[in-house]
Symmetry: C2
Subunit: 273 residues, 2 copies
Amino acid sequence: MLPVVVVHGGAGHIPKERSERSTSGVRSAAQSAYAVLKRGGSSMDAVVDAVMLLENNPSFNAGCGSVLNIKGEVEMDALVMDGKTLSSGAVSAVRNIANPIQLARLVMEKTSHACLTAEGASQFAHFMGIPEVPQESLITEYSRMRWKKNLEPDANPVECQMGKMGTVGAVAVDTDGNVACATSTGGLLNKMEGRVGDTPCIGQSPEAASDLGLAHMKSRVGGLGGVVTVDPQGNWAARFSSRQMAWAAAQKDTLHYGLYTGENFTQIMEDTH
Amino acid sequence: MLPVVVVHGGAGHIPKERSERSTSGVRSAAQSAYAVLKRGGSSMDAVVDAVMLLENNPSFNAGCGSVLNIKGEVEMDALVMDGKTLSSGAVSAVRNIANPIQLARLVMEKTSHACLTAEGASQFAHFMGIPEVPQESLITEYSRMRWKKNLEPDANPVECQMGKMGTVGAVAVDTDGNVACATSTGGLLNKMEGRVGDTPCIGQSPEAASDLGLAHMKSRVGGLGGVVTVDPQGNWAARFSSRQMAWAAAQKDTLHYGLYTGENFTQIMEDTH
């Protein structure tokens, strides 16, 4: 069953003209991360590799392609967690870097803290030698268009939010049986400056935790979302209560990927290496 | 059994010369919050009242009296949660305000977000009319002395950390049976700029959750801490795995308070109104 990696591109409504790019994006990320695992890389190497590819892909709401805050700026959140040691690292409201997930990993590995935020996170990035990138390089035409549209007097903020996908993420188990996960996001469209999103809660078995989490979110706050999980034996699952979610999983030299829509899975595809 | 409020002053080592001030501080906070509940205030009103008193009390690591970061500055984190609606509000790495808990409550009540950080949190405070206070007003002689001591070449950072208490907190149930909680902290002594601490995980029953949480923290990461809980029936508990924790609880017109040290509770006191 090992190694295995599962990747998702964020739950939410995916416009038809963008669904192919989403699916191919998660497919490439799973493929690349799986190659990392096959050549003996750790699950942490794999999930960071996958999420970096999603951050660099303008089709996703993370890194380049992040949604803009109310001022038209990019502020990003990211987190990694290592199942072996339970150590984790995160950054919130970070600006002007291409790969927040890389910085989250450095917070875990190089500091005694679990999360650095805003200006403090930027200072740490500088100290670690991570290049500062101009904000413009993270902003796509599409995200600027959506930001402007949401500022129009007759804009419906709730509708606008639904048109954009959320956090991207990856989970993996390496050949040593160690689990790791990574998530990254630009957050909510037209969010207030300094807004920090939900941080993960660690609980029971992966399956029980995701079902419980989704059911709880739906029943108590009417929220919809998606989760990808892998247990140390390599059993994986992608579950969602939202409208759509692009996902991809690599295991036993086979790539599964697809776009969840409605009650049934559609477009499940397999590539054998 | 209702109403009830339980307050703690942060788990950790409490120097002997400071233990009386800690105990009297949590006692006053529980007393004041209990009066809020008795005159029909909500559990949210009560916990914010209690935590504001602890923030204003220089004996605790929250608000005035917060530990200093590596640069000698005060950056604070705070969170409120309403058990009735499951809504929550938080601020992280916020500066130059006297009562971060008040701002956390405003994040919950006045924004669509759950957390605002750093400069964005300051802007929101300004917008809400919360007065900016000079940093100096939050810094005590004691915290500056400890900061300097930790910068000395022969300082032992781990030992220094152990000398300071952590997050303060309060939980309450009002006469309508609604639970609320509030926590506030200056974080870790000599932390990096922008460091954000652990955010709460919401789980099972209060007792099971606190036992599980403490056991898990101890077994997996060797961490020690303390928890105060109240269930909607008004059953309360204060548990800890750390060296010491000052706590106070008010219920049935009686105030219980004390200082936990070692395996057994010591100094449990009762005041009847």
